[in-house]
Amino acid sequence: MVDIIVCLKQTVDVNQVRPHPETLEPQLGQAPRKISDFDLNALEEALRIKEKHGGRVVAVCVGHDIQQLLIREALAMGADEAYVVSDPRLEKADGLVTAEVLAALIRKVGRWDLILCGEASLDESAYQTGPRLAEIFNIPHITYAVRVELEDSGVKVWKAMEGGIHVVKASLPAVLAVGLEINTPRLPSLLMIRAASKKPIHEVKLSELGLSEEQLTPAVETLQVKALKVERRRITLEGEPEELAQKLAEILVQEGLVKK
């Protein structure tokens, strides 16, 4: 039996964010939100571990404007329950504040053996929440996990590094941070979606977590976000494959992109 915490961040869908034509700032309000990609891989991995070894999977989620629907999505995939902190104050949260709030929330959940999270988030891709949580709990963390096996004495993880795969072992409890290589997240069936509506979502207030003012004060402030513009010619070529191949070959030669 293993009890697993899965951290789920709700972010904007970065593929649908458009910059403001003049200021170049991202128009975040106009883009739909979703569960950060790799966090779904983390949830999937947690569910697979549960299916094999038994236990409970608890989703935790903190943010400034948490959408219930996305929590239900995680429950429909198979998480047993969810703990949520949604507070406008967290809009300016940096990695430090987020980790402190998550850790405090995880303490409320009670017993657990493993924390799983995505290695990086869709919007920030800072690779920081996993290592920060592990530091708070003074336990090992393993990022870039591409395969996980539970053993009697702990967990064995295949970790993708620059030079190859490092196979490492850690004792439990531990934090594992995973990327998209580890699995393909399941799509919930209609039955599971219906079952999810009865699963508990525990709403916890930020003030109930006993965090100090210092813990809630971001150490890094975002001053500005701007689109990096790249100008492309955007010429569309359409037609029969023979035509396209001919035109393309000519372009490559004429523009001096390939040399004789």
Partner: protein, 319 residues
């Protein structure tokens, strides 16, 4: 005077960080030093010297590969505290990206990941980094010291004349949780510097089978291009070595020609090809994001267009 403390498990990357640190040092009123863990060779020292290091703190008992990131973070945080570091600068390698946030948490401070540029301002350190899939740049201000930062490598050129840095031994008792390294399965490596390639033919999930990549290989051979790919091709499918994957979590390339075959062009891929001079995409879906981010968007089936293109080029180029 305070210190900018630099760390990387790769001394050449550390040398680059030292160059960045030395540029910031006057405005932060700080000196610079590197931290070295584990045994230290002449080569290592030379690398630090090339970065212009005057001082290297040497902790012998900790080995990054063997003990894992928590122990490295403990050593780094301890030395940072002892020398009253104003900033901890780590190269954004895979290990660096694990060590830096853990160090920041230990020091109860902020962290800016994989920065591309740093500036000292009167309010504190300003860091620039890619966000929202890398297509946007954020400007961040640190409100608390020390500043913990990881910086992308390949941006600074170490060329210090290399007078020997002073080495100061530090002993630290490691109490952080260790990992046990069972084995390292060395990856098949492309052994190419994709960042330096002039021409890149890149493949995505539009290829249905591994064998089909031969179409792209043949084309690449004819024009003398390197082969690149999207993350799923290297990561999930393992059809190509990891070091050919381009994008946010892979290589950032700047070829004259980037030819994207069967790649949808999600933002995380696009960020890696932004500096390409000419982008050509071949995709059956005219609405794929890459089609509006290309100089030439070829609406077509790679299975039909690519072999024909190779034939045409062979003729035109006389190969």
């Amino acid at each position: 005077m305070s210190t900018i403390l630099v760390y990387s498990e790769n001394p050449h990357a550390a040398a680059e960080m030292l160059v960045a640190a030395r540029q910031l040092a006057p405005s932060l009123n700080a000196s610079t030093a590197a931290l070295h863990l584990g045994s230290m060779s002449e080569q290592d020292l030379k690398a630090y010297a090339a970065g212009g290091a005057e001082l290297v703190y040497h902790v012998d008992g900790v080995d990054a590969e063997k003990h894992g990131p928590a122990c490295v973070a403990e050593a780094l945080a301890n030395v940072a505290r002892n020398v009253d570091a104003v900033m901890v600068l780590v190269a954004a390698t895979r290990l660096g990206r694990e060590v830096a946030p853990r160090t920041a948490q230990r020091l109860k401070t902020g962290y800016a990941a994989e920065c591309v540029q740093l500036e000292a301002s009167s309010d504190g350190l300003v860091a620039y980094r890619g966000v929202l899939g890398g297509t946007y740049q954020a400007k961040l201000l640190f409100k608390r010291k020390p500043y913990v930062v990881s910086l992308q490598t390949g941006r600074y050129q170490p060329e210090g004349s290399g007078s020997q840095p002073r080495v100061e031994k530090v002993s630290i008792e490691i109490t952080a949780p260790q990992l046990e390294l069972v084995e390292i399965a060395r990856a098949e490596s492309a052994g190419v510097d994709l960042e330096k390639a002039e021409l890149i033919v890149s493949v995505g999930r539009g290829f249905k089978k591994r064998e089909d990549l031969s179409m792209a290989e043949e084309l690449a051979k004819v024009i003398g291009a390197e082969l690149g790919c999207s993350r799923p091709i290297a990561g999930d499918l393992k059809w190509l070595p990891e070091d050919r994957h381009i994008g946010l979590s892979g290589k950032r390339v700047k070829p004259k020609l980037y030819l994207a075959l069967g790649i949808s062009g999600q933002v995380q891929h696009l960020v890696g090809i932004r500096d390409s001079k000419v982008v050509i995409a071949v995709n059956t879906d005219s609405n794929a994001p890459i089609m509006s981010e290309a100089d030439y968007a070829v609406v077509g089936d790679i299975y039909k267009v690519v072999p024909l293109l190779t034939e045409n080029l062979k003729k035109l180029l006389g190969r």
